[in-house]
């Protein structure tokens, strides 16, 4: 086992763990008052729950990092089936929270199948398109069939309804599909089809609540007492923070003004307590994971691994963007959590599994590189390091192996 981890990528290995640990601290800070006043439980209620999940998550992280990613391709049918069964059954047996059936509640833990679907669909699409890469230009044969399954998955999530997650899964799928190298012509056809379906679907999806979320995002002060409320509270939190923030635990907005302070709006609490510095480091670390993931995707000789890395990186990137966008008023509030940081067990678990997979891809690449360079010439090792340095810089942190 020691041997297997020998080629681990430092950035991809530790950044998720650092972010998770940071997330636990912020969740504690953001939730302690809420837990006591609103839920009337101990102030450490959310802290310990998240801590449990984090321990499970880290275990899963190392477990999946050791499993060669190629194996998923062989059990792809099982993965897809499990995913669909979970999504289907949650519609029937799931817990009804706020008029949405998105959760299984097992008492000691709750579980969100849509999170599984994110990773499941990435593996599925990566697997299918890597196989069809040779004839990817054949629309009917290569492009269309996987899209049907994608549509079904998204459809099941829309039915819960959980538009936010559905949108993310749609975007993740799109990023995998685009990266798979399909013809732009086909992409346009798909786009047209997509618009067609959306126009059919929209009248059914538009509710006053959703419209309000949009207007809330763009005109928060029009109706500050109601729909613009969350965003104004978020603005206030961010604005209060300034450059270095009020200090850890110093947030006032978390005291009931910011709803969902420990989940969707945790970035606002970070901004208020740690200022732009804290926000910058958080986003920087997330960017490091995403860009490093994409870097390995490019390096990967194997199409499946490459697409898998793209999907996972994009999943994290897209979630980050939608969450930060909502918190800062750039996008409507959709209830998307911030990867690794926000409270949420199943979400964290899936993210850690994803990171395990990504690490495995990275390790295989590095191992191949290492052995290659060792065989041919010993010097390129250094040039390799230089590349790492230059790319890592864009993530905001100087990095040397």
């Amino acid at each position: 086992m020691k041997n297997r981890l020998k080629y681990f990528d430092f950035a991809l290995m530790f950044t998720p763990i650092v972010l998770t640990a940071f997330g636990i601290v912020m969740i504690y800070s953001a939730s302690m008052v809420y837990a006591v006043i609103k839920l009337e439980v101990g102030s450490t209620f959310f802290l310990f729950k998240q801590l449990q999940w984090a321990i499970i998550g880290v275990g899963a992280f190392f477990f999946f990092a050791l499993i060669p990613y190629q194996k998923y391709q062989r059990i792809i049918k099982f993965i897809v089936l499990t995913m669909l069964v979970l999504l289907g059954s949650v519609l029937i047996f799931g817990n009804n929270v706020n008029n949405a059936r998105s959760w299984f509640d097992f008492g000691f833990m709750s579980f969100q199948p849509a999170e599984v679907a994110k990773l499941g669909l990435i593996i599925y699409l990566a697997s299918v398109y890597s196989k069809k890469l040779k004839y990817i230009h054949d629309f009917g044969k290569a492009v269309m069939p996987p899209l049907i399954l994608t549509a079904v998955t998204i459809g099941l999530i829309v039915l819960q309804p959980d538009i936010g997650t559905a949108a993310i899964i749609f975007l993740i799928s799109l990023s995998v599909i685009v990266s798979s190298g399909i013809k732009f012509r086909h992409l346009f056809i798909l786009g047209a089809l997509g618009i067609f379906f959306i126009t059919i679907a929209v009248p059914h999806l538009v509710t006053d609540e959703r419209v309000a979320r949009f207007t809330g995002a763009y005109e928060p002060f029009e109706d500050p007492s109601d729909d613009g409320y969350h965003l104004i509270q978020s603005y206030v939190a961010i604005g209060t923070g300034g450059l270095t923030g009020e200090g850890l635990g110093g947030s006032v907005q978390k005291l009931g003004y910011l709803l969902e302070a420990h989940t969707d709006f945790i970035m606002a609490v970070i901004a208020e307590e740690l200022g732009l510095v804290g926000v910058g480091i958080t986003i920087g670390l997330l960017a490091l994971i995403v860009l490093r993931g994409l870097y390995f995707a490019k390096k990967c000789e194997d199409a499946f691994g490459s697409l898998l890395a793209i999907g996972i990186s994009c999943m994290i990137g897209i979630q980050t963007f939608i969450n930060v966008g909502a918190v800062s008023g750039l996008l409507p509030i959709t209830g998307v959590t911030l990867p690794f940081i926000s409270y949420g067990g199943s979400s964290l678990l899936i993210l850690m599994i994803s990171m395990g997979i990504l690490n495995n891809i990275a390790m295989q690449i590095r191992k191949a590189e290492f052995t290659n360079t060792k065989q041919t010439e010993p010097i390129p090792q250094q040039s390799n390091n230089q590349t790492v340095v230059s790319i890592s810089e864009s993530g905001g942190k100087r990095w040397v192996k």
């Binding site: 209060t240 300034g242 490459s306 800062s328 008023g329």
Partner: protein, 647 residues
């Protein structure tokens, strides 16, 4: 493991990579934008959002007279506050409340059912009387509370109303001193702020912020309550006696510019200012009104002439024929036929217009107008009361010989009463023109210490000490021997000048039989302590002369005020050489040769002191033909032998 050529995948990857990078940059910029560009605005909003303020009202400063007597103070005047959510039976509560508060049941019901956490019934529920408050408390209605509040109380009622001004329902100054010094009197609101969460729960880990209210400072005025009372009394008497259109009284300390008293009629009660027309409470006539001063203005002409050494009161003489020709126009003296041959002292005593015209002519327009301006006419005195007028002077370039002549005796100029008082003060105090003021000291209500003190502001030296002495001498003689005789006060050397000014009507011409009669006086003449100005606008049922109407009132004000101020009576004053001209002197009759019985008819206005024994008066002192004051004593010598008397 299948190795595929992934050229397209890699190309696309670069795109995805760049997109990801761009999105992260967008995020960072957006967050930075929210944090710094809208940061300040949001901070304010945040503070508002978190803190709950319980406002604490400061006490408004009291207003005192120069000796610390209260002129304006605060009394409790509670308000009714309601909490609509706590009211179970609005109809019943509305009926009960409306009865006490004098409002309709419907209005009360509307208020009681409104959506508000706390509401103060306005205006019916503000400034309640004690009885109202007690009644409401006795009802013990749910959701109805009595909130502490205060209102201004005026122990002297109408006294000094125009100067004090008044306050509105929120105790904010609306007029007079209450307005001009509103900031200092008002103090600063305090608050008890505690930070709370969204539900209104108090946040215990955040410190409560107690900002104590800063009570307003107490204001000590230059006004002397005793002098003010005297002037108010005299104005009331004058109003009753003459039924005038208006009346103005000012008393000032000529050596500092401190206003000792100021009043005018018509006046009002500051607590009920709404009951009089706005022009009554808005116009503080002593500083606002402008009119022709008439003869009181001659003091300025006199001062200028003396300072320029153009006349000598005793040596130079003037012959008044009843009128004087200036630029083809005949300007008449107020006394038809004229005063005849006079010294310039007599010109002043007689207030002889042609005499002053010659003074004006000797000065010339430039000098006369320079003095007029130096004495402060044509500009505001700068008194710390609002609504001060400037008056109007002829433009110097438009002044011809006629304008010069009329200005010299106080016509064709328009001045305010306060300008006259400050100018005359300067003329008699040694030549120092002071800026008049009423706010003397600001006192911390808790420690009683003086926080701020107004020092007299000497604006200009206008004439010399010698000139000032001569003016005092001349004006004292006006009272002792001239037109101002009725202002004479035994024991106090009063100096002064009468004034009778015609009013300009709406048509721009002088109105007939409608004058502002005035008198400006000072005392004691050797060291003036007080200057009093009094003007009665259009007194009825009397001869409209300053000397007749205004002078005696000023005399009374002077005497009472000087005694109140504790000014010592002058015993060896030079005025003793003069008699009271109003009491006719009697000629001593020839008593010699008369019998004692014959004396009866002379006893009415003379007293007799007899020496010796006998039936016949043989000697008398003073001698027959001399004039003595009424009531003087005639000494007689008696003898039985009548023949001795004709020795």
């Amino acid at each position: 493991m299948k190795r595929v050529s992934q050229v397209t995948v890699r190309k696309r990857l670069v795109t995805v990579f760049l997109f990801a990078l761009v999105f992260f940059i967008i995020m960072s910029f957006r967050l930075g934008y929210v944090q710094f560009v809208i940061g300040d605005m949001l901070m304010d909003k945040a503070e508002e959002l978190w803190s709950r303020d319980i406002p604490l009202k400061p006490d408004r400063g009291e207003i005192l007279d120069r000796n610390g007597n209260v002129l304006v103070e605060n009394v409790s005047a509670p308000s009714v506050a309601i909490v609509p959510r706590q009211i179970k039976n609005p109809q019943d509560t509305a009926e009960k409340l409306s009865e006490i508060l004098n409002m309709s049941v419907k209005d009360a019901y509307d208020v009681l059912t409104m959506t508000a956490s706390v509401h103060i019934i306005h205006p019916e529920g503000r400034k309640l009387t004690e009885e109202q408050a007690i009644k409401i408390q006795e009802l013990n209605l749910e959701g109805v509370y009595i909130a502490e509040d205060s209102k201004r109380f005026y122990p002297h009622d109408e006294m000094l109303a125009h100067v004090l001004g008044f306050t509105g329902i929120d105790n904010q100054g609306l007029a007079g001193i209450e307005l001009s010094y509103d900031d200092k009197l008002n103090g600063e609101k305090g608050s008890l702020s505690f930070f709370s969460d969204a539900k209104g729960h108090k946040m215990n880990d955040m410190a409560d912020l107690y900002t104590p209210p800063k009570d307003g400072l107490n204001l000590k005025l230059t006004i002397d309550e005793r002098v003010q009372t005297i002037i108010e009394r005299e104005l009331d008497l004058a109003e009753a006696k003459y039924n005038p259109d208006g009346a103005i009284g000012i008393a000032m300390d000529p050596n500092t510019g401190e206003i000792l008293a100021m009043s005018s009629r018509p006046n009002f009660h500051p607590a009920e200012f709404q009951n009089v027309p706005a022009e009554v409470y808005n116009r503080n006539l002593p500083v606002w009104s402008t009119y022709e001063p008439g003869s009181t203005f001659k003091i300025i002409t006199l001062a200028a002439s003396l300072e320029e050494k153009l006349i000598d009161l005793e040596e130079d003489e003037f012959n008044d024929t009843g009128s004087i020709e200036v630029g083809g126009a005949h300007l008449h003296c107020w006394k038809s036929g004229g005063h005849g041959h006079q010294t310039y002292l007599e010109v002043v005593q007689n207030s002889c217009n042609p005499g002053f015209v010659t003074m004006g002519e000797k000065l010339g327009k430039e000098k006369l107008f320079t003095y007029i301006k130096n004495f402060g006419f044509g500009q505001k005195t700068g008194i710390d009361l609002s609504g001060e007028g400037k008056g109007i002077l002829f433009k110097e370039e438009n002044v011809g010989s006629v304008e010069l002549a009329t200005t010299a005796f106080g016509q064709g100029v328009s001045v305010t009463p306060i300008q006259q008082v400050t100018a005359v003060s300067a003329a008699i105090n040694g030549g120092y023109l002071y800026q008049p003021y009423v706010a003397k000291e600001w006192i911390d209500p808790i420690t009683g210490k003086v926080v701020e003190e107004t020092k007299p502001i000497m604006k200009k030296r206008v004439i010399s000490q010698e000139t000032s002495e001569q003016i005092r001498y001349a004006l004292e003689s006006v009272v002792a021997q001239g037109t101002g005789g009725k202002a004479f006060v035994d024991g106090y050397r009063v100096g002064g000048k009468t004034g009778t000014a015609q009013k300009v009507g709406a048509d721009g011409n002088y109105m007939s039989n409608n004058h502002i009669v005035s008198f400006i006086g000072f005392a004691p003449a050797d060291d003036p302590k007080i200057v009093v100005y009094l003007a009665i606008d259009n007194p009825k049922n009397t001869v409209q002369f300053g000397g007749v109407v205004a002078a005696p009132i000023v005399g009374t004000i002077m005497e009472d005020s000087l005694r109140a101020l504790g000014v010592e009576e002058r015993e060896n004053g030079f005025e003793k050489e003069y008699n009271w001209p109003e009491k006719p002197r009697v000629e001593v009759p020839d008593l010699i040769g008369l019998t004692k019985k014959d004396l009866q008819k002379y006893l009415t206005n003379l007293s007799i002191e007899a020496e010796g024994e006998g039936e016949y008066i043989i000697q008398q002192a003073p001698k027959a033909g001399e004039t003595v004051e009424q009531g003087s004593t005639i000494r007689i010598f008696l003898s039985d032998d009548n023949s001795k008397s004709r020795e």
